[in-house]
């Protein structure tokens, strides 16, 4: 057998395998290290801090769990959230994340390692990303081999699509969920391959963990029955499928019911859940999925039983039995459905049933869902941003799966189709797409590398013999002729290779598809060569070298891209902001914490703070004050109330504030330093959500001036009167002295004479230089942070003379009150 490069001959197979496994372990270790390290940008650039919004709640819940124990946590009723309603926390969360941190915390403390719970929370996601890499390795290993597994592990370790949800400090459910997802899938594949009840049980246990950890468990609930169903329809029923699926289903379903938030959903339609807005359409999906789940389970039982019967009787008798069984089952099923519909237990043909096919349903009709940026459709560039060249290799990998098409490949294909669809619908579901992209790309790339690293030369001797038969003498003709099909795609590739580094975005697609197709051809060639003695293959070192170098180049670019994206885009805690000065030095903007600590230090412990719901968790976590609404968003009316208060004039808003015991109102204002995620930019959502509940009082068009959203002189009167506008620009003009004040977010010049406030107090601590710092005990003390990002107003108490606050203010400013004639209460009866 000729080889392209010399191989050492005197190695025993044992040494080779041992070295290979050692190298694998080292590689996995390094991958884990890289996965963890690349997630630490946030800690290095900023500090060990919990990021964003939801993680603050998780962190707060974890602190309760760590300090009070599991059972206390389980029964925790939080009276400070959703004031005055409160929130039953134990029954409305996925406790998996907190339980994980709690276990780690207690374990470390049992080992006398007094690690702060915050650091555990911050570093949980990077830690689990290493486990994810390992689970992906195991999964891909089942699909192809160890080298593909290592590639997949490396990909998932650093791919931005996953890093975006798992940097240090991003203490969210997704941090552990992707590991659970991949490991459950691995166990499922393993169980299916071996027909092992052991792996089925493990899959069920991890499924339970997943259910306890993330709402995305529905994805598993979806995938596995679908896979089983497709296998069944493909005529691939086997006892192994029966064992794997039944075990997983029976234990997994019972286990998933232990989580209170999920509860009886698998067996009962709970209509009240449908009222929860966000969940309404997903609820129906859920029910449908559970129907599928159970349906597939029942189907499998029937098929298994039929198989058993078939093994005992002749085929003719089996057919008779089958016919009579199908008829009787059909009749019974029909009567069962009629009876159930008659009894009103199921209503299969209502309009809402169809809404589950329409993924845009919730977005169209429930503004609170549409208002979350995560729920927007994915833009094309973000696919490249999150996955880089994997997105181009991904289809090639799926094609490879079609070529092998064992049971597990069917799984990957279904996964790829489903995840691609969902990732296109919603940005946040990019996360579920990422693992399968990594797996499929790893399969494709490893096939490519296998082909081009394989030292085996095509069998030219055979060719020679055959050509000798034909009568030609030159072997080189034969060689070049056989090499032609391989060379053809390669030629086009070579021309493009040079362009690749210049413009990796555009050309890469063609390039990679070229690579993939040639790889596919090559694999086919090598397979057929071994069986039918065809002589397609790779000749010489130069072609090998070119392809390998190109691949390595791609990988290098991938690493560069991942590092760059991670460090620049995904590692901002969003609680602390960073800005770069023209000279390159970094300036930290810490307004949020400044303001939250001000609240914590200077306000009464039971002072209710009203803000838009985005900041509810942060206020609860950092300022430890009751909030009206938070990121849980379970009560749309309550949120709409806040929206109404924000978008109404002061006189209308004041009674709302007083009735909800609000002491402080907090707004985010980015107009001074150009922080674009501020409340005025979210303001239209507040208006829309309020309009959904009070269509008579709040109307969106009133906030526009001829269709334009303006905050300057031409802002509509309703806009200028609204509490949000007033709170944002109150005394903003004072900053600019004689100059025209400028809002740097909206790029508009604000009126030089700013709005006045009568019902809220304001005091700008940020302007210490102006010397108007009064002590915090004064009645209308409030706060504006250093860069004006957070502004806090105190809601004034009722006037002690019982006057309207507006009149009282006018009086104290020395304005003469307009004399109004008293209105007679006496109304004469008309028609006399």
């Amino acid at each position: 057998m000729p080889t392209a490069y010399p191989l050492p001959k005197d190695l025993s197979p044992a040494i080779v395998t041992n070295t290979a496994s050692l190298l694998r372990i080292i590689a996995l270790g390094l991958i884990s290290g890289a996965a963890i390290a690349s997630r630490l940008f946030a800690v290095v650039n900023f500090e060990s801090i919990i990021h964003e919004f939801d993680p603050w709640f998780n962190y707060r819940a974890t602190r309760v769990l760590a300090s009070k124990g599991f059972y206390e946590f389980w029964n925790w009723f939080d009276p400070t959230a959703w004031y005055p309603l409160g929130r039953v926390v134990g029954g409305t969360i996925y406790p998996g994340l907190m339980a994980t941190s709690g276990v780690i915390y207690n374990l470390l403390h049992a080992l006398h390692l007094p690690v702060d719970i915050r650091n555990i929370c911050v570093l949980l996601a990077p830690g689990f990303s290493a486990l994810t890499a390992w689970a992906t390795y195991m999964f891909t290993k089942e699909l192809k081999d160890e080298s593909a597994g290592l590639l997949a592990a490396a990909f998932i370790g650093i791919v931005p699509g996953y890093i975006s949800r798992s940097v240090a400090g991003s203490y969210d459910n997704e941090a552990i969920a992707i590991f659970l997802l991949m490991f459950t899938f691995f166990c499922w594949i393993k169980a299916l391959k071996q027909g092992s009840a052991f792996f089925g049980t493990i899959a069920a246990v991890f499924y339970f963990y997943m259910v306890a950890a993330w709402g995305g468990y529905v994805f598993i609930t979806n995938m596995i029955p679908l896979h089983a169903l497709v296998l069944l329809l493909m005529g691939r029923f086997s006892s192994r499928l029966y064992v794997a699926y039944s075990t997983w289903y029976a234990i997994g379903t019972l286990a998933s019911m232990q989580v209170p938030f999920v509860g009886f959903q698998p067996v009962r339609t709970s209509e009240h859940m449908a009222a929860l807005g966000e969940h309404s359409s997903s609820m129906y999906q859920l029910i449908f999925i559970h129907l599928t789940l159970t349906g597939v389970f029942g189907l499998l039982q029937i098929v298994a039983f039929a198989q058993l019967v078939r093994s005992h009787v002749s085929s003719k008798q089996f057919q008779e039995l089958l016919v009579s069984a199908v008829i009787s089952a059909g009749v019974m099923g029909f009567f069962a459905i009629v009876a159930l519909t008659y009894k009103g237990w199921i209503a299969p043909w209502t309009g809402r049933f169809y809404s589950l096919w329409d993924t845009g349903y919730a977005k169209k009709y429930i503004p609170i869902i549409a208002s979350v940026s995560e729920h927007q459709p994915t833009a094309w560039p973000s696919f490249f941003m999150d996955l880089h060249f994997l997105i181009f290799l991904f289809p090639a990998g799926v094609v490879m799966c079609f070529r092998a098409l064992r049971d597990e490949h069917v799984f990957v294909i279904i996964y790829a189709v489903m995840a691609s669809y969902f990732a296109g619908v919603m940005v946040r579901l990019m996360l579920t797409l990422t693992p399968v992209v990594c797996v499929a790309s790893a399969v494709a790339m490893s096939s490519l590398l296998d082909t081009y690293l394989d030292p085996k030369e095509p069998d030219t001797d055979e060719q020679k013999g055959r050509s000798a038969l034909v009568g030609t003498t030159s072997a080189s003709i034969g060689t070049s002729a056989t090499a032609a099909p391989v060379a053809a795609p390669k030629k086009t590739k070579k021309t493009k290779e040079k362009e690749a580094p210049v413009a990796p975005g555009g050309v890469l697609g063609d390039l990679v598809s070229g690579v993939a197709s040639s790889a596919a051809a090559a694999v086919q060639a090598s397979e057929t060569a071994s069986t039918s003695k065809s002589t397609k293959g790779i000749f010489g070192l130069d072609t090998r070298f070119a392809v390998i170098m190109n691949t390595i180049g791609l990988l290098l670019f991938f690493v560069l891209h991942c590092t760059w994206v991670t460090s620049s885009a995904y590692s901002s805690p969003s609680v602390v902001l960073a800005s770069t000065s023209p000279d390159g030095s970094q300036h930290i903007i810490d307004d949020f914490r400044e303001a939250y600590y001000w609240l914590r230090q200077n306000t009464a412990e039971d002072a209710v703070v009203m803000s838009w719901w985005d900041y509810g968790y942060q206020i609860a976590g950092m300022a430890d004050r009751p909030t009206l609404v938070d990121n849980n968003t379970w009560n749309n009316t309550h949120i709409a109330t806040v929206g109404k208060a924000m978008s109404s004039p002061e006189e209308v808003a004041y009674p709302i504030l007083r009735k909800h015991d609000v002491s402080y109102v907090l707004v985010i204002f980015g107009g001074l330093i150009g922080y674009s995620g501020d409340d005025l930019n979210k303001f239209l959502w507040m208006v829309r959500i309020a309009q959904g509940v009070w269509p008579d009082e709040i109307q969106e068009p009133n906030y526009f001036n001829k269709g334009e959203y303006r905050v300057d002189d031409r802002a509509s009167p309703t806009m200028r009167e609204s509490l949000m506008y007033k709170m944002s620009y109150y005394r903003f003009a004072d900053l600019f002295g004689a100059q025209q004040p400028m809002d740097r977010v909206r790029g508009q010049q604000v009126p030089a004479k700013g709005p006045t406030l009568d019902y809220l107090g304001e005091h700008s601590v940020g302007f210490r230089c102006r010397g108007n710092v009064s002590n915090s005990s004064s009645a209308d003390e409030a706060f504006t942070s250093e860069n004006w990002i957070v502004r806090i107003y105190e809601v004034k108490k009722d006037d002690i003379l019982g006057r309207d606050l507006k009149i009282a203010n006018a009086f104290s400013e020395g304005k003469k009150r307009k004399r109004s004639k008293p209105v007679s209460r006496r109304k004469a009866i008309r028609g006399w």
């Binding site: 599991f70 059972y71 003379l801 004639k821 008293p822 209105v823 007679s824 209460r825 006496r826 109304k827 004469a828 009866i829 006399w832």
Partner: protein, 277 residues
């Protein structure tokens, strides 16, 4: 405001003590004329006896003239405050109308029912009690019930927008789902027996097939089965009273010997099976 009132009152008391002077009405006179100026009634109000109730038509004009004097003497005084009060004792509606008094103590008040003053309260078919209230820094305050006045009925006043929030709310009554009941004991027992009956069938079938466990007490098998049994006991204990953490801990501890015992036991049975076949 409250402290100011108390101050004034105390000041008044002192003033009353010093002067002991009172204000009185001189020649109070009431005239009612219709809209075309025909006089319907003209009367001097008696100072002691309460007069007959007066009736005012929809367009009639009531005129009231009087002079305020000190101690019933002829010299008129100007009180600091002079009010006419219209009061419906049943509905509690009242209206206060200030009256201008000249420095000579003379006063004239005109009530035109075609254009009633804003202070006139809403009325029903009941009369309004009209009284005169005099206040002065130097005299005792005085109040004179003048007469009862029937005025045309007005429509009932609209309730104040916040009226609803000034009432006692009805007590909140919670509606609970009815407590689910256990079925009668007999039914329970019958069904318990029914649910347990498959055990009999199981044992019967096994007996028929011939259940034989020749190696059950073999020292290699027994630990495994015993440990499996221990697991079940642990789980039952969990149901009875153990905490989750304890169960997981004990289960973890129990798992280690079980794995080893299982390996031995199953390897042994594997050997037997291989030997048998």
């Amino acid at each position: 405001m409250i402290p100011r009132i108390t101050f004034h009152l105390s000041w008044l008391v002192i003033a009353a003590g010093v002067h002991a002077a009172t204000l009185s009405l001189q020649s109070p006179r009431v005239t009612i004329s219709s809209s075309d100026a025909t006089q319907l009634l003209s009367d001097t109000l008696p100072s002691i006896k309460r007069p007959e109730p007066l009736t005012l038509g929809a367009s009639d004009i009531l005129k009231l003239t009087f002079q305020v004097t000190e101690n019933g003497e002829g010299k008129g005084v100007q009180p600091h405050q002079t009010f006419l009060r219209f009061y419906d004792s049943v509905s509690g509606e009242e209206g206060i109308q200030p009256v201008r008094v000249t420095p000579g103590g003379k006063a004239k008040f005109e009530l035109n029912m075609a254009r009633p003053p804003a202070s006139l309260p809403p009325t029903t078919d009941r009369p309004l009690a009209v009284s005169l209230i005099l206040g002065s820094f130097v005299h005792d305050p005085a109040k004179y019930d003048l007469f009862d006045l029937y005025v045309p009925t007005s429509s009932t006043p609209a309730p104040h927008p916040d009226e609803a929030s000034f009432h006692v709310l009805p007590p909140i009554v919670h509606t609970f789902r009815p407590e689910q009941k256990l079925p009668p004991k007999v039914v329970s027992i019958v069904f318990a027996a029914l649910v347990l009956s498959p055990w009999a069938i199981l044992l019967g079938l096994w007996g028929k097939i011939g259940l034989s466990v020749p190696h059950l007490v073999s020292p290699r098998i027994l630990p495994f089965t015993a440990l499996l049994g221990a697991f079940e006991v642990l789980l039952v204990r969990y149901w009875v009273g153990l905490k989750l953490g304890q169960v997981l801990l004990y289960g973890g501890i129990l798992a280690i010997p079980t794995i080893f015992a299982g390996k031995t036991a199953l390897a042994t049975t594997g050997e037997w099976r291989a030997g048998k076949h």
